[in-house]
Amino acid sequence: MRSSRTLGLIMIAPAAIMIVLFFLMPVVLTAVFSFTNMTTATGISGGAYQIAPNSLIALKDEMPEVVQQLTEPRYAIDEEGIKGVEGLALEPGIARELREKHLGEVFSSRREAERMIKDLTDRPSTRDVKQISEQFNRSVANLRFSSKEDLFASLDKFGFKMTPEEKEGLASATYTGWSWTTENFSRIASSPDMAQILFNTLLYVALVLVLFNTCYAMLLAIWTHYMPNVQATIFRSVWLLPRITPVVIYVLMWKWLAWDTGFISTFMGKFGYAPKNYLLDNAYNAWLFVVLINGFIGASMGMLVFSSALKAIPKSQFFASEVDGASRWQQIRYIILPQMRWPILFVTCYQTLSLLASFNEILLSTRGGPGKATEVWSLAAYHTALNNYAGNLEYGLGAAMALVLVIIGIILSLAYLRVFNYATLVARPLIED
């Protein structure tokens, strides 16, 4: 309508689209997935109906004969099949020979039927053999149907007399895709491992946040603030290194430091200590390193924010307090810290959320070990849904775990918005066009 409004909508559109595509839709999808039993074996995109012996084991007690019939391949050389073969436009001799020599034969496996076909005088190619044998298939065993209707149609076609209930039972037993369930959440709620992981997560976030992301970062910012420029720049750069170093290398360096053949081992070896894997030696060590590895990265963000906030404090306040007789500690205590409230809040909020979601460093360093000692929630979700040795990707459970994080995150950020006094952040535009 009005120019700035239209312009605003246009300018915000790209962000909105990206956010809808890559935040909102995934969240919605994740919420949906979390109520399914989706795994590698069920696939994501939906299933099919496959009459395989395995899938019918459960039905065996209910309707033994049907299961028997269903799972037994039956290749019958009948007129209908031969007609079909004639329709394939192969050597005419094939159909003729089939009719003359084999009409009425029944084979109990495809392989046997195909052996017969291969022995025909006009020996068809493998490809044709497959086509021909298909014409004589008179069972649904090992067939895959993309929909229930197809399944029922074939059942009818092959003359299986079944009640609708039986059909439904069969359909649900042979369905290969996922189904709705709330089990993921009850599993999360009841599993002692999950409780452990949750505890790990809280411990991890709290330790890194308090020790490094805020306290140490503040210390760094203040220390470098009181230094001559050159030294300050050097130290800030050193502490920024962890952040600007790609995480793969960064973690590699810690491993170099802590592994059996690494620096600490070698160094301690000079004092007669046997080399050992300090990183994974025990849970305490692993925790120490996980906190250090993440903390060293986390400190830099806080340092940046605090340093620039410190820089924004007018120099005159430092002068004034010195003239007023404040010692350095009093200056920090009474002048700097009280004015860092907002930066501290910002860093705390931002970093809690970041830490909750982060697992890169842990994945690359301890992989959650030793045991599951350093497994955190997001890493566990990743392991569950995407990355484990057996290749058994439990998308549904993983999504439920992710959803738990999403909910925690939303609650936290709403709380933070309150603390930030959200209303003051959206000032009315001063140009009223």
Binding site: P314, A320, S321, E322, V323, D324, G325, P338
Partner: protein
């Protein structure tokens, strides 16, 4: 407490700001430091209060050499140009801060804060934050904070620059009264000469890191040592006429102005001279009539200001009580008061 700057120099890296300045402020005196922007006034104050270290020379408080003492122990009260209030503290906390860092019991602090706040008339604002105060109120908080520790030396860096005319007048007398009553030695930095003249015992005029003249306000106004000083003091500013000396008379080639030079002025014939005429000394009552055309006129309430362009180009300014008979474009013949003109030589030195 006497303040003595002894051969004081200050440079920032390669930039020399002050070189070998000598300045003495007597005990209980209030001195104004006046000068154009960037001349080194704040630098001097910062050195006195200990924020900057001198690169040369000594600073003495009384007989004590404080050159290398940190700010914290100099007992100096400073009102910074920007007030430098602590935005996160209330007025009371701001004022009480210098006592708080001395670990004085908070009951005593409160009593003292109340006393000093009443003195600067902000007793009713104690719970507010600086951002909730008007400029004048902030100003007074800064002043109260500077005074509360009973400083030996009070340094005021352009303390009134941001106030409106009315508030400015009030604060001027307030500061002066407090300084007098407590007998503090004070230095006032300002770029407003009315302020300097009205508040201080003496004025020091600086230019590019050097002190050009130190004198009482009246002396400075009536007896400027250089053209720079004369031009700097006075509102509206003095006007300068450039001409030559000829037989004891100042004249401008191409114009008919002829001003007799005072006897005390010794200028050889043909010497290039500059004549300074203050606007209040060019008016109907002077003794050397000069005719010109009014090319600018403005009412300032009780007075009118006129710019008169005289034949040959030069401009004279006149300020007179309000009159309604003169319009822009009128030709007027007013007279310069030749006893009150200043004569400067080619280099701006007063003769």
């Amino acid at each position: 407490m006497r303040i003595l700057l002894d051969n004081f120099s200050k440079s920032f890296g390669a930039t020399k700001v002050i070189e070998n300045m000598n300045l003495e402020v007597a005990h209980g005196e209030m001195l104004a430091l006046l000068g154009p922007s960037g001349c080194g006034k704040s630098t001097t104050l910062f050195a006195i209060c200990g924020i900057h270290r001198p690169t040369g020379g000594r600073i003495l408080f009384g007989d004590r050499d404080v050159t290398d003492l940190p700010s914290q122990v100099r007992n100096v009260g400073v009102v910074f140009q920007s007030y430098a209030l602590y935005p996160h503290m209330t007025v009371a906390e701001n004022i009480g801060f210098p006592l708080k860092v001395k670990a004085i019991p908070s009951a005593d602090i409160r009593k003292e804060v109340d006393r000093i706040a009443a003195l600067v008339q902000i007793g009713n604002l104690m719970g507010r934050r600086p951002s909730e105060l008007s400029g004048g109120q902030q100003q007074r908080v800064a002043l109260a904070r500077a005074l509360i520790r009973k400083p030996d030396v009070l340094l005021l860096d352009e303390p009134l620059a941001n106030l409106d005319a009315k508030l400015r007048l009030e604060m001027r007398s307030e500061i002066r009264r407090i300084q007098r009553e407590t007998g503090i030695t004070a230095i006032l930095v300002t770029h407003d000469q009315v302020e300097a003249m009205s508040m201080c015992d003496r004025i020091a005029i600086m230019k590019e890191g050097e002190i050009i003249q130190i004198a009482t306000p009246a002396e400075m106004y009536n007896d400027p040592r250089t053209a720079f000083v004369a031009g700097f003091l006075g509102n509206p500013p003095i006007t300068f006429l450039h001409g030559v000396a000829a037989k004891g008379v100042f004249s401008i080639p191409g114009s008919e102005i002829k001003v007799p030079l005072p006897a005390c002025v010794d200028a050889s014939d043909g010497a290039k001279l500059t004549l300074g005429v203050r606007p209040e000394h060019y008016n109907p009552t002077g003794d050397v009539p000069v005719t010109g055309v009014v090319n600018f006129a403005e009412t300032q309430g009780r007075e009118n200001l006129y710019d008169v362009r005289i034949a040959g180009g030069p401009l004279l300014r006149s300020i007179q009580p309000v009159r309604h008979d003169i319009k822009i474009g009128d030709e007027v013949t007013w007279a310069i008061d030749s006893r009150n003109v200043f004569i400067f030589d080619e280099n701006g030195r007063r003769l």
